[in-house]
Symmetry: C2
């Protein structure tokens, strides 16, 4: 299949010094200068992170709390981005433009690679250079900044997001999470969906009022996609302050649980919208079904994996280094397997984190527990600050920004309306059936805890092909920056303003939840801060949660971990041989609850 | 500067299904399939690592020791590589060949980017695609495998090597290292240089005897480069066995110390050879001077950094997470700064590791010490096994291999001769002046400890432009694989064969070094396994080491860490104000040696 075509080539040289015959030495020099540019890029972000860490330390040391580390990272990123942008052209990019003659190459699909065949002037050897497809561009001029301080958006999805999401799942405070599961699921699943559609519809209406060019470039699916990505929240700053001030644990659980799960919902929604838009244009249907099976598929798939971990871990625990390595590799492979099978890896890695914390954690040796916890803590810290630095820098250096003031203005308003449409109506409905009601000041706080973060940005930057998508990226970046800095910075004042009690310890909370704000005298065993969820707690637990808790303690935990009671005790007599097979010696010789009490 | 050229384009389509009008949806599908391919690549290596970890655990559990984890990683890598290679073409790569008309584009230098301008058949919008320079190629067919399971060689230098090298420096057992410093430096600096030149000269001679085509493609600088890269050793397997069996600590220090430092020497030498070849061809000189200043530059540069760390750490220690993050970021930035300033980052990060262990480690909080040690241990473990997996896989998938049997045969022989030329003559010379002589069986063990590893491979894969370099890569890969599997596997037998005593504890060694093989009765304090080097130990310490040790204890340590005696006690009276300024309150209130005894 060889076709000979006649095309025109247009060479657009931006700046370059070397002309004439190039030798291997010059190629070496070129490779070296590229290598230095790569190193410089990495160094730029490393230094930004160092600066952020040092400033955080200074602020913590001086007890300033009006700004969080992520806010700082964004601000430093903005400053450095502006410097890179306006410091003038040191870039040396030579671009050659190739025109395809359409009568010969009849696919408008871009080839994956281009080989540039260049006869050597000296005549001793012809050279062939390989070029790899990067992206679609609008304008040649863009190249100049394109190569500066930007990364492939795929890096966010494959490298930066997984540790952040995993850590969120791994560090869920399970007791309060399960106790408020109903409310959390309502906010995360129903609320995020409602918010997506509200934002999508409002934005679409607004766009129709705008000048014709802009109105035509947005489809309803575009604005719906925007609604989905802007509905995921990331209240890092607020949670850090809640943690420092010992704010009401139920409020903490609501804010944290919702933010963790709505990431998953937002990514499934946005994925479904993209799938749907493909199907719609290709003429096939299947919107909800796809999304549903996707989620279920993820669930089953990680679950099988989790099970295999369990059995493995019970024997590798003599070698903490191997155990930790296996833990990290297994968790990452869960993500990759989901991505390869065309499922959403983020959802998979989130539930992997939650399950690992619930079951696998108990099987780990003491050394590995500490090590994995610390490693993921550090990875999460670095990844999170990196992504916020990048949001700042990319405001200036990413070439695909499109500033549409009207769209940005509407974006801010609609994001707030969407958040309100999530929190207030659902809280009202929840309060109809819920025993410890969600008071009005908690609802306000939930509303203001709707900061946007890493997930919104990652979803927005992933696809910037059309002008509409570019305007969405710019709007999302600005919303992230403004909410992180302003809402994050105002948290302390908001807490005062809404009169939310602070300084409550764990157990005071449990009492104050029933209305009495007295100091607690009977504290629970401090060694079991997050005891097994089946412990009798009266009517403060939902029916569903009780059923799950009992199933979990009697079957899942004995099957997957070393905890007591064993399956021999919980399973019916007819299943004794099976139960004996599934129970380890270690498990039988263990005192009841000695392991399950160690959850963190 | 716009030139219009007429060129010919040749389209070479390997396999592809979609022809006709491509829409955004197809572009999306393409992006998605690329994303899945990337994920599949990563998954492939993640699963390989999981398999390696599980097998290591099984071997450790069953007490098999005939093969080390790196050997396993290589073997699994080879198997998977072969499967990928011969499992048939599932690749969908469309390549378009572009011919440059030389009369118009008068530089034979390749442009950095190509923009492919493609008028859309439907006519609604023209498309422009951007292509980025990847490398120079010989043959179009290569593409097919090129995109499978291979990584950019730069990844090894920027991501994989730094943690390995840093960890080597950070985990140097300092007492025995400093005690044998003279011998280690002799082997590492003089020995590696001798070995490089011996291998380079022998290979050049051999190549001249070979068929003319091959003989002409190798220059003396090429073979010298090969000599330098093959002279770096990586006796991981052997050190692991030494550690398990408690082999003589001086032998351990010699093997480990030499392997750590000869990496640095090999990279400086190979860098110098490349610089020299450039200078030589461009007509300027400055071979040794460049290398020397390069090394000194590295030294000073990291040193300034180290100092700044010190002062920082003393105050960030209240926040272990920030401290650990800073430690990791600072260490990585040392590497990047050196790379950006055109120095060798590997040397910089190695000395950074050594200095961090010597000074910074003492300033860290207890939590950070454990955390940083564990993190670097894990990173090192993963990076090391990844690189050995990759060596195995790339034997089959990397497109730039060139199998020249005669060159490979000569490579094996010359590598062995070069190693012998390092060990035996220098041991003879060292034994003339050294009090505890290096016995003949230790020399044999040193010779056989010359396994080749990550550094040789990374240097070989970095530049594969010419046929000579490709043959060198193939030879290096094979030498690494064979030495790691065969020499690594034979270590136990070699130890028996050479009658090297095993099972010696720390202090028995100190006695047996003076000839008496009796069991020790007076053991040193187990809490101070690696006490400060200034402790009086009779004549077992070299003159230079004594001077450095005293300078270190009296000035460097008080200046950089919190250890006693303080500068107030060690500096002359005239300098008291300065000393007071440099001494922290914490330092004065600390008992003598309370910190320096905690080195690990």
């Amino acid at each position: 299949m060889f076709n000979i075509l006649i095309v025109q080539i247009l060479i657009h040289v931006i700046t370059h010094s070397v002309y004439g015959a190039a030798s291997d030495i010059q190629l070496d020099a070129k490779a070296q200068s590229n290598h230095r540019l790569d190193s410089l890029n990495l160094l730029c972000y490393t230094l930004l992170l160092i600066l952020t860490v040092l400033t955080i330390w200074l602020f913590k040391h001086r007890r300033f709390s009006f700004i969080h580390e992520t806010g700082l990272a964004v601000i430093y990123g903005l400053i450095v981005g502006a410097i890179i942008r306006y410091s003038g052209g040191t870039s040396q990019v030579v671009n050659m433009q190739v025109f395809v003659d359409q009568s010969k190459y009849n696919s408008s699909f871009p080839p994956d690679t281009l080989s540039l065949y260049m006869p050597k002037p000296a005549g001793n050897k012809n050279l062939t250079f390989q070029y790899v497809f990067r992206n679609e561009i609008d304008d040649i001029k863009e190249n100049e900044i394109d190569l500066k301080a930007t990364f492939d958006p795929e890096i966010f999805f494959n490298i930066i997001l997984p540790p952040i999401i995993f850590h969120a799942g791994y560090s869920l405070k399970r007791k309060y999470f399960f106790r408020n599961l109903g409310a959390i699921l309502t906010y995360a699943v129903i609320g995020t969906t409602v918010s997506s559609f509200v934002v999508g519809a409002l934005m679409y209406g607004w766009v129709q009022l705008m000048p014709a060019r802009l109105a035509n470039s947005f489809t309803f699916l575009d604005t719906l996609y925007f609604g989905a990505l802007i509905s995921s929240t990331d209240p890092l700053t607020i949670l850090a302050i809640f943690n420092d001030l010992n704010v009401n644990v139920n409020l903490y659980a609501l804010v944290f649980g919702e933010s963790v799960l709505n990431d998953a919902v937002a990514i499934v929604l946005s994925g479904s919208i993209q799938h749907y838009s493909k199907r719609y244009q290709l003429g096939t249907g299947g919107f909800e079904i796809k999304a549903f099976f996707q989620a279920v598929g993820d669930f089953c798939e990680y679950y099988v994996l989790i099970k295999t971990y369990m059995t493995k871990y019970t024997r590798v625990r003599d070698f903490p280094l191997l155990e930790s390595a296996l833990f990290v590799l297994m968790s990452y492979s869960t993500f990759l397997i989901a991505e390869v099978s065309d499922l959403t890896g983020v959802v998979s890695v989130l539930f992997c984190g939650i399950c690992q914390a619930h079951y696998t954690y108990n099987n780990l040796s003491e050394a590995s527990r500490l090590r994995t916890k610390q490693i993921f803590e550090l990875l999460n810290f670095l990844a999170e600050n990196f992504i916020f630095c990048y949001i700042g820098v990319s405001m200036f250096t990413f070439p695909k920004h499109h500033f549409a003031p009207l769209f940005i203005f509407a974006g801010f308003i609609c994001a707030a309306i969407g958040r309100a449409a999530n929190v207030y109506p659902l809280s009202f409905l929840l309060n109809l059936g819920r025993q410890p009601k969600i008071p009005m000041n908690f609802q306000h706080m939930l509303f203001f805890a709707g900061l946007r973060g890493a997930m919104s940005f990652a979803l927005a930057i992933r696809n910037t092909r059309s002008e509409a998508r570019q305007a969405m990226l710019t709007t999302t970046s600005l919303i992230v920056i403004v909410t992180v800095i302003i809402q994050g910075g105002a948290t302390m004042n908001l807490l005062k303003w809404f009169k939310i009690p602070v300084g409550n310890s764990d157990e005071t909370e449990a009492l104050s939840r029933n209305g009495s704000h007295s100091d607690s005298t009977s504290r629970s065993d401090p060694n079991e801060p997050f005891g097994p969820p089946e412990r009798p707690r009266g009517n403060d637990k939902a029916f569903l949660a009780r059923i799950w808790g009992s199933f979990d303690t009697n079957y899942m935990k004995p099957l997957l971990t070393h905890s007591r009671p064993t399956l021999l005790e919980t399973m019916p007599v007819c299943c004794t041989p099976l139960a004996r097979f599934l129970t380890t010696t270690e498990q039988i010789t263990q005192p009841i609850n000695s392991i399950s009490g160690h959850q963190v």
